[in-house]
Amino acid sequence: MKERVAIVGIGVTGFSSVSPSISFKELTYTAAVKAYHEAGLHPKEIDSFITASEDFMEGYSIFDEYVPDQMGAVMRPVQTVTADFIQALGIGCMMINTGRFRTIAVEAHSKASNVKTLNEVKAFALDPVYIRPLKENADFLAGLEMKRFLEETGNTEEQCAEVIVKNKANALNNPYAAHAASLTIDDVLSSPPISLPLKELDAAKPADGAIMIVLASEKEAKALCKKPIWIRGISWFSGQGNPWCRDFAYADYAQLAAQKAFAMAGIANPLKDLDFAEICDEYSYKELQHLESIGIARKGEAGFLTQTGVTKLGGLLPVNVSGGSLGVGHTYEASGGMKVVEAVMQLRHEAGIRQIPNAKTGLVQSWRGVPTATGAIAILSNE
């Protein structure tokens, strides 16, 4: 990037399965107030605003019109992007690099509990000609990807179960998490089947919550903030969109985004150069597939690394110390945001009992979920 961009404020509500006492606007307002307070800025001092949202999840067409109030962005330049939070973050970085913006607020929220036909929304994302007429629950795409991934790489269902046990246990240390649990491998393996090999506990459960972060140019960040967290690399890609011609053994979008983000950040050896990673684990096997696609693990070795404790808190490269989507909750467009917040807390050394000692550089990754092959990666650092 021409100009370095930093995160100078984060705001997050907790995550929960339901949130009946607060509207989506009030939820976002709560996160926004915290983020602006941290950044020491009034929203009038923010140059532009971005919300990552998906109309079908909100239940509004042209949702753009419903976001300014709660961000303090009335009569200001606002846009929504139909993408994950990390993609919105990338757009914020590009805007600052134009030289026309000093500060950008980026927001995402989930009110998944308000979508009464969540499975219909998922089905609505499937190709109407080639997939939808089969009338299968959209999770079947994860089932068949998992099957091929395990078959081809030699990773096992037991190793996928290890991911769930680890992430849900990590979430016990995260007061924001909605789905923390102390489970055994057997609990996971005996959970009810969805689309085998995918079982109920393999899929992250939805959660509500909101996230806001404030981005600033290098000059602004140094003036505003004692501990700016630098975005050293950021990228997103769409891979093979048609699920019937994908290479399910690896995630092309993650590999491509990683190559670009690593090049920007000067990461040569991810296992050595990164202190932690927050990886998309919307389904258990996705954490393993993403680790191999990004190049943190060699092909077929992500399960072994998980089983031998390399990716647990205290291991060589802790993965999803936040609890990930499995432990914190699946927050749709806000998924990457939850991971960015965790990374910022780790890099500021403010993560409490789940702090990774001397954390300097971390990776955050998101995926747009079934049926997509779209995902983003950012490399964050405190130096």
Binding site: Y36, K111, V121
Partner: protein
Amino acid sequence: MKIENVPVKGLSSDEYEKTLKISWKPTLQYAWDNGIGIGKYLQSLKEGKILAAYCEKCGRIMLPARAFCEMCFRPTDKYLPVKDTGTVNTFAICHVNWDASRLKPDEPRYIPAVIEIDGASPGQGIMHLLGNVEPAKVRIGMKVKAVWKPADKREGSITDILFFEPY
């Protein structure tokens, strides 16, 4: 009809019906949490009152009631009922239904309007319907008053007010 037989233009409706198409009827259902601001506003409508919120900083009495002032970006300081009378800011006379189908000549026209409520700050209006008035007689600036549903029929919705009528 085979695709190679479809004429370049001038498809009759019969022919159109025979072309192969994919159709899908989505079932999309939402139940939005009202939260604090909207929750209080709707509860108050159920009680036959229009509720506003006051921001001490900008001095605005805002409608509908809300938990935070979006201009000052701070929590509102108190909720207060305002009158159920107001002034027509603007209106339209609708000759079509919600689905754009035409009303029959003898059916009454809908008159949606922005009504600036008495007791709220200037420009603080609510969106509602006008009733008991000839469309041709409606004027900007007309004084109107809420006609409420009977108390036992109200359910905490903006339709707890049936419409506004001249008074």
